[in-house]
Symmetry: D2
């Protein structure tokens, strides 16, 4: 139908650099990442650049088609080898379960795709090492998804530490307490095996705060002492994992760190870090869903932290995907590297060994020498 | 080029209800609303529904084309009469300057379009009344954009008051302090005339807190006393407006209110409300850009409130457009009506008269009887 | 009995300057002040000086003896004329009910005693004026007990304003909300008459925030507009007072102020002030009984403000009496003067007139010219 | 001189139970305790009871006389054996340096005096054990001064845990960071020897948070792992102590704890605890000197925590001495026992051994069996 005065815009003629995204995985994180690409502001690059959702890949054709169509993907694949062969795919986004990250990421890097992969990077130190090496060898961009680094308060904390505003740093303190029921991506059956195919408390949720410690301190951990127990749910114990841990970190530069992890936080989702230096300290606390405070005859009441990490960190996921697209666009190093993904895997293994052997463990005891 | 294994998705075949949006205005608020429609989550309606950006309209073809293409509009118009004649447009979104709201909104309603219009609704009580009547007569949906009603803390506060959790309400307190330099949508030349064609402090920024007072108390103001002066910038005084005001509100139900407005807030953008009742009080404070707190030898330091209303209320604008699309979709009443837009115009005029005549003024002194 | 090695200390030989206090009133405030004198740290002056509780005075010999003995007074009087004739009394502390302040304070000043008197200074502008003049004429120290000036946060706020840290000041905001039941010194029968012998809401609790406004802004109010009503308790209305007020203050220097007062605050005892300037703002909020915060499945919960003003402001009362003793000791001007006591009486009357006549009232309409 | 109408009060005839206090030590803590006895409210007991400051004891007659006279002591001794022989002394308050606590406390208990002793109780496990046994054998009241137990927020936290409001407890977290320069009682020369005659970081400031952990969890620690280092001041290292420690606590009931201690906190005096349970968590944070918050163009600024423990915990010291006087008066058990003083000594030794041997250490490795 003709519409008087209407001047159509031919989108395909716009001078926009389009960056093709191929998504492996249509589950929870696949949706989170897909949404994040769509929410990157149009004006983020100059000249303009848009990520284009080329294809989503998964084994169940009906389900992957359903999810892909809701996010506007151009099409789907049911075989990831086909996805990484697609010439329109520049960015390979790996949102598979933790124990299936390695093979497709390595193949995609070898096929010349830039690789962004969810955390924990791998279930074994060996896999993590291979993934890092494959990307390095292929010369592609390679990023591990530690979305907390993109939380504004965390960035501000790192900036202050780098600028020396806190003086000489001597202590890191962090916690990550989480109710499994609050987080649909972390059903018990998926995450409690400490030594099995899925990431337990030390490799899984623990990796977030391990990454925060490395990122904020800007140094490597040499030794850990992990205490822990089954304090929350006997089922977790029967499955071979623990639900409560306290880890002491010994950094190479002498800084001490403490990390608390728990599968229990009935009051929400408790993720806080503090860094202490000779000139001051910075604390990052939980963000809240609203700023309302109610005072009544019983006390002063505020809302609980945002329970579910997706709504809590929506903006962090957008910032994360934007950062990766930008580093592909501008050929700059990614803000979180494959090595950053590898380090918490080593540390998770060392912590696990410390817990089982009831003694401090050096990371060199469990690490694989690069090239070995 | 053929891609082995690639199964394309034909987007046009998806069972999605598409709702056409026609945008009048390509300036600041036009961009904010356009962005908000794009960010409405795909899954917000069941069966699925998507707003479609049909056309943007503005007099300068080159500039409107530039803006429209960045948001993916299908095309543009340079004459708003053509825009409201477009059969694909269901929602007419009016983002013109404050003093040009009336005519297009009335015409759009008469053309059977659902009308969403920025605040303040109009520059005169008469215009505001005509706009409300046109929409009522045409039976279209009609919403005024008071985005603060969509802030989570404000919604929670209203809910508590409605549920009686605060008992019998007796006092409202609110403030809106804003540095003009922080807000690109409020250059001085656009907003300081109290009695001219643009909205001054009492009609303009004042309308937000006036709306909060009516929304939270759930009752109408009968009388106001406004004090004020030029405390910040003599230029504002020379232009005929004031930059600092204190308004006492007398509600019909006996509740008392106080509103402070200022064009000065070097520390950010200060918008807080408190409501007091026999069983408690609720306060809504400023939201912050981050949760970092730094302690050093000088004190304990937090970040300033988010300065710029667009980044501060991004989510509120998305919730607002989503709510209007939903009420069109489901044929339900809009959460903020044309009458809600009209009331602050009447109150702004009464406050202005009170300030000039140095006495309390009843709203009935300045209002137009419906139908008069 | 002799005690080997024991060397007694002869207290009367110590080189300590003893300052005799005569207390009129053994009720609530009499106890608060007596306790405050005892808690002044021994080391506050150099050379050492101690206030000595010479005598307490009240008409009921048995009751005044009972109270006086608990605080270690040397003796009692039942006639205040005898108390002010006691040569050991240097400081006359007037803790009688509000409507009986004038006569003894004037007589004590004429007898050469330094006079400290509870707020509100008097029930009439005329009495307040006479009290100020008597002290000025006699050349004695004269202080009105506005204890809030001795709260650390208030002192800090005043200091910042004086130093210019907030720039040019343009707005004051304050509130005083109080449950009568929480405060044994304010039984309803004692305080609700706005125009009777006792101080109503505008003269009584209102005087605290009026004093804060004058103290923090450092200027005089010229005009007030008071709105109000009976929103809390019909009994208060039947007794001729109101229980809720909102006052707009017009300062001589152009600063605007808003004061809210209420006889209702089920959540505690709500006394907050905020001052806004061109370079920043300072807020003073309620102090809390503890720093514990509990998070459970319902939310984040803190304790209510300290309910009862005596435990909340114990330290402020000690600082207040210490300041008066120090100004007697060092012959310096008191930090709160008789004129500071007189001003809120004038303002309370003007606010009352404004409320009754429903119009802004200039203070000059109700004031007595000095010397008239 | 006769004073007409004056009726003296004969203080000695009042029906007051007087409890004699003998103070050993006239240094910093001797003054703090003396002041606390004087500030116990007169009405705390019914029938009335007053602590009476009988005598202060110290070797330097001139200096002890000077201090004693400022607090109103009846006299002085220069030999503590004479002090504990004084029949008027009921309470023996031991404020000597940490390494001289044992002998006088043991002797006083044998002489039938009730003994209150500053923390840390002793410098060796053996001394601590002997002190506890002496008091038990003599049947006197015996209290160790852990003043933090008397902070309102800590009491509230313990109460909530006891009531089960937090469910099953699984984690304790605490810190104690202190600038030596801020605290006149802790000059470097007095406190940095970990193994010498004075208490180092693990026995000294560490004992406060160790006590908090035991008090709040209500259970005993079985094993500790301590990491640490010299991060702040090389002088501390040269003197044989460390200035930064992280201790992992393994409680008998399975609860895990973490304690951070540091001799550095340029931002004040940082003492916080958190306890986590299956139904919620409670946090106790630093109390502040005022409630003022300043917002300017740089940010939002609050005051630092109260730096100096005496002004910060004045009320806690009063509550502590009051509690001991009350338990003597009413023949009830003291709220903090000798055993509570002994436990942190054992734990401090175990932590020290863990730090030196770089392995977890069971308390039973360093403890002395009662009776051994």
């Amino acid at each position: 139908m003709q519409k008087p005065g209407f001047k159509p815009i031919d989108n395909s003629q716009l001078a926009v650099r389009r960056i093709g995204v191929g998504m492996l995985g249509y589950g929870f994180m696949g949706k989170v990442h897909s949404n994040a690409y769509l929410k990157i502001p149009y004006s983020f690059a100059n000249p303009p650049a848009w990520p284009v959702l080329v294809a989503m890949c998964g084994r169940d054709e009906a389900r992957v088609t359903d999810v892909a169509s809701r996010f506007g993907y151009g099409g789907i694949y049911t075989d990831w080898k086909r996805l990484i062969a697609d010439p329109d795919v520049e960015i390979f986004d790996n949102c598979t379960p933790d124990d299936r990250h390695a093979k497709p990421s390595i193949a995609a890097a070898r096929a010349g795709k830039h690789v962004i992969c969810e955390k924990p990077l791998a279930m074994t130190v060996k896999d993590a090492a291979s993934m890092v090496e494959a990307a390095q060898h292929a010369g592609v961009k390679n990023m591990t998804c530690f979305n907390y680094r993109f939380i504004p308060a965390v960035r501000l904390a790192r900036q202050l530490i780098e600028q020396g505003a806190l003086g000489k740093i001597y202590h890191f303190r962090g916690c990550y307490l989480q109710e499994p029921g609050h987080d649909p991506s972390a059903p018990l059956e998926d995450c409690w095996y400490a030594t099995g195919t899925r990431s337990g408390i030390l490799l899984g949720i623990g990796s977030h705060i391990i990454d925060m410690a490395r990122f904020l301190i800007g140094d490597e951990v040499e030794q850990v002492y992990a205490a822990g127990g089954v304090m929350v749910d006997p089922e977790i114990g029967r499955a071979g994992d623990i639900d409560t841990t306290v880890i002491t970190l010994h950094f190479a530069n002498g800084v001490l760190g403490t990390i608390d992890n728990s599968r229990q936080a009935v009051f929400g989702y408790d993720q806080r870090v503090e860094v202490f230096g000779s000139a001051g300290m910075v604390g990052v606390s939980n963000n809240l869903p609203d700023t309302a405070v109610v005072s009544d005859a019983q006390g002063v009441h505020g809302s609980l932290p945002l329970f579910f990490f997706v709504e809590r960190y929506t903006e962090a996921y957008i910032a994360e995907t934007k950062a990766f697209v930008a580093c592909v666009l501008n050929d700059t190093p990614p803000p979180v590297t494959g090595l950053d993904g590898r380090a918490p895997v080593v540390m998770g293994y060392a912590a696990n060994k410390s817990y089982r052997e009831k003694r401090p463990v050096k990371l060199s005891e469990v690490d694989i020498k690069p090239g070995a």
